[in-house]
Amino acid sequence: MSTADRAAPHGVIHDIGFRHYTGQRLGRRWARRSLLIETLRGAYGLGRPAKSRIMAWLLLGLYVAPALIVVTVAITTKADHLALSYTNYSVALSLLTTLFVAGRAPYAVSRDLRDGVIPLYLSRPLSRLDYVAAKFIGLWLAVTLFLAAPITVLLIGSLLAKMRIGDAVTGWLGGMLMVAILAAVLTGIGLALASFTKRRGLGVAAIVTSLVMAMGISPLVTSVVNTQVSVEAGTYGALIDPYRLVDGLAAGWLGVDPSDAMMAPVNGAGTTVFTLAMLAVVGACLAVLTARFKKVGRV
């Protein structure tokens, strides 16, 4: 600003910079896609400080390690089947998955709520449904990758152990399908619970507590109902626990061995019930999420 301007009693405004953006605007699909990718990357701590990365990758490492052990054992003993099947693996190591989901779901949602940035998101060409969908799919992809990693290790191991290729690949495909479904259920529950609180710690506690309690109570329900009512009624105890629910679905749809025969559907009707339950849970969680973000702004 030249002092010549200052000394004289008049003012001039020079057009030194502000320009309207006339370039290409990428639109709603791009916005959705970007949010999705950002959620996915955030779940594994990419683009975040080191601490969140350590937790995520540590859990992933711990989760894949048993698969490596199973595979090594199978190769060295020349076994003809794996100690843990493609579908049972998720149930056996469910605690680790629970910790992963419990850690990442609040990251996806609680921070936005606490910082009040939802209005910022929604004032762009991004509708409320887009926001929910992007967060859900982003986290779902993250959890699917998590669950799929050891399953894929099992496949590679089976091939290396020279087990029947056809069985191995179909087993793996079945496992991947169930992994995708389990991821959807867990993501739904995780996000729905996390969206109720601004505090990340409380969200983590709520998710872990709920899932671990569910895991502990469902066999109890099954055994009690089993002896008091009927074996078939007892199998519905699995509906409380997402892991056993999906495991039961695998048994019903794909015909694989369930982790616990007492907790898997015994007939077609049972399979239908399991399927409906799974759809209901995912639907309810999405509905809760969408309703939660209706009240936009400071919660």
Partner: protein, 241 residues
């Protein structure tokens, strides 16, 4: 001890969403107790097994985690703890005030829930309830102190606390021999073992003696409290994340 700090701490724990999670946990315990009764017809052995593994082993530590961290972690996380720290109060007095409130709330919730659940699941003339009440009270005091300290010492107290409560206390301490000696659950069960000696049907066992258990619990609480107060005196208040 400071009455204002206590009042603020009480509001923080009971007046927020956290309390609904506590209520939900109590409800879950009661549901499990009911199921146990339905399945076993009210036999004490089943009640004892369920209470030791699920009620005292899992539920009580988680509830103490929520309460022990609830009196201080949210304030540290959002920086509002400065309003208590920037006052001419000894850090020990601040910590003690908050901890006392946490202990009282925890006792009410845990002992209340355990006694109620024991009766629902089936008791033997109230002996189980009495024994488990003592156990729960001792465990609750210890856990709450530990989690209170963790809330001050750690950046993510909930996750660390949950890992401890669910993995260490909830699972391993029930089964792995070496771990058992180092778990609060075993220390707190020692008096229960003595109290239930005459109830032949029930097999509640603790790996440590009553004296040993008491010593270990007191030692743990003292260490936790000392560490907590030291850290509180050096806490730099900043807004989280």
């Amino acid at each position: 001890m400071n009455a204002v700090v206590m009042r603020l701490a009480l509001q923080a724990v009971v007046g927020r969403r956290r309390v609904w999670l506590l209520v939900a946990l109590v409800a879950v315990l009661l549901v499990v107790a009911f199921l146990t009764r339905w399945g076993s017809g009210g036999r004490e052995e089943s009640t004892a097994a369920m209470m030791v593994n699920f009620g005292i082993g899992t539920l009580v530590p988680v509830m103490c985690l929520l309460i022990g961290t609830g009196v201080i972690a949210p304030e540290i996380e959002d920086g509002s703890v400065v309003y208590v720290l920037a006052k001419p109060l000894r850090r020990g007095a601040i910590a003690a005030s908050k901890l006392v409130v946490a202990q009282l709330v925890a006792l009410v919730f845990t002992v209340g829930a355990v006694v109620l659940a024991t009766e629902v699941a089936g008791d033997a003339d109230g002996q189980l309830a009495a024994a488990f009440a003592v156990t729960t009270a001792l465990a609750s005091l210890t856990y709450t102190t530990v989690f209170f300290a963790v809330a001050i010492l750690s950046k993510s107290p909930t996750i660390s606390g949950l890992l401890y409560a669910l993995v260490w206390e909830g699972s391993l301490a029930g089964y792995v021999p070496g771990v058992r000696d180092l778990s609060v659950r075993q220390w707190a069960l020692a008096p229960a073992e003595r109290m239930l000696e005459d109830v032949y049907t029930v097999n509640v066992h603790s790996d440590v003696s009553i004296t040993m258990g008491a010593l270990l619990m007191v030692a743990t609480m003292v260490v936790a409290l000392v560490l907590a107060v030291r850290r509180l005196a050096r806490l730099n208040v900043r807004v989280a994340d």
